[in-house]
């Protein structure tokens, strides 16, 4: 193994840790917020439904990198101080929660109407109908697309590099800069290649799991 590899690998391991933490935080926040919003859009408050629909259309319709830039530049202008990693996390969560909300909405609407009507006829309220009848069925269906979203969120964390957040891709970029300064040799090809392989190794099990669940739920 060439001598330049171990220090670079150690440095990039730190970047990987930040990537994983960022992905985990955004995934949890997106799923929590998105589920609430997805339920709200099928609820009975017209104004709330319209607001949530706007939220979904907006964040799903914009390029993800633009949302990250927006969080990075706009929130400080509005008086909220965020470091690059937090700004990236905010941007990813805005986008991720919109995707989850749309998936949850689709899953709830895919539950046959009769289920809800049956529950109402039995005297259950809206909340009890949701909790005991609709959601247990809907959340199963929303599992595969949610796994796909997690993959997209993990991919999306690499955009944080553009804000200067020290995640995996940024750690690769800085390693290459250092190698150029110290030895005049960038080694960009193996380093960026390694970043791709690491992302592949993290995401491929999720992809396979999602496919397997999709097949299983279909039968």
């Amino acid at each position: 193994m060439p001598a330049w590899v171990p220090p670079v690998a150690r440095y990039m391991a730190q970047g990987l840790e930040a990537t994983l933490l960022l992905a985990l935080a955004c995934s949890l926040a997106s799923v929590a917020l998105g589920t609430v919003l997805g339920i709200a859009i099928t609820g009975e408050l017209p104004l709330l439904r319209r607001v949530v629909r706007l939220y979904i259309e907006l964040w799903r319709g914009l390029p993800l990198i633009l949302i990250l830039f927006f969080a990075f530049f706009a929130l400080p202008a509005a008086g909220v101080r965020l470091d690059p990693l937090e700004a990236a996390g905010t941007g990813l969560t805005l986008w991720g929660s919109a995707v989850v909300a749309d998936n949850v909405r689709g899953a709830i609407l895919s539950i046959p109407r009769a289920q809800r009507e049956g529950a109402l006829a039995l005297g259950l309220g809206w909340l009890a109908t949701m909790r005991h009848v609709v959601l247990p069925q809907a959340l199963r269906r929303v599992l595969p697309p949610t796994l796909n979203l997690l993959t997209s969120l993990i991919h999306g964390t690499s955009l944080a590099a553009q804000l200067g957040a020290l995640e995996l891709l940024e750690s690769a970029r800085r390693s290459i800069q250092r190698l150029v300064l110290e030895a005049g040799q960038p080694h960009s090809l193996p380093i960026y290649g390694a970043v791709m392989v690491v992302f592949f190794l993290i995401c491929y099990p999720l992809v396979l799991l999602s496919r397997w669940l999709e097949r299983r739920l279909k039968v």
Partner: protein, 222 residues
Amino acid sequence: MSFGYALDPGYVAAHLGELALGLGWTVVLTVIGFLLGTLLGLLGAAVRVARVPLLSPIVAAAVEFIRTTPLFVQIFFLYFGLPDLGLRAPGFVVASAALVIWSAAYNVENFRAAIGAVPRSYHEAALALGLKPRTVFRRITLPMALRLAMASVTNTGVETLKNSALMVAISFPELTDTAVDLVAVSFRVFEVFTVIGAAYLLLTAAFTWLMRRLERRMAWPV
């Protein structure tokens, strides 16, 4: 607003020329990524479905790898990594290539799923009528698959449009890169981002509308 930020629409108005140029590049990248990506995707799907020896597993592996790694890192690899091998290309070429490869990978799966969704009985009926397998694919399966694939291919096209914004990483002057440069020097973040955000939403709507029209023109009377 109360946090000491006064909106100044005049700033965007003064820089509309640059933004329009950026918009132009975004459209160019999207059209290239969409058209070539669709064509290449169809070719790849044909290779997969026909199980062309050697080629089919290579296409399958490439599609899996491309779809499971971030496009953003792929752009870094192509633009900063490949020059290590002496393969240096201008930003426009790398940006186009990255989008074409990415959308082709997704379209292989889109078309493959569509071909798989054509009822098997058509295929069998055509064979029973004495048509050669190649003719059955070209005249029966493919025309139906193309129509079935419209929605997912449109979707991939929309994602290609949005992904063109990632070229900010290699400072290619498309819409987002232009906007970020303007914001970095002026901090006119709300004005600039509102305008280009609206531009992206409008582009998406226009593209989707065009594809819908195409879909309706192609539709067969049922």
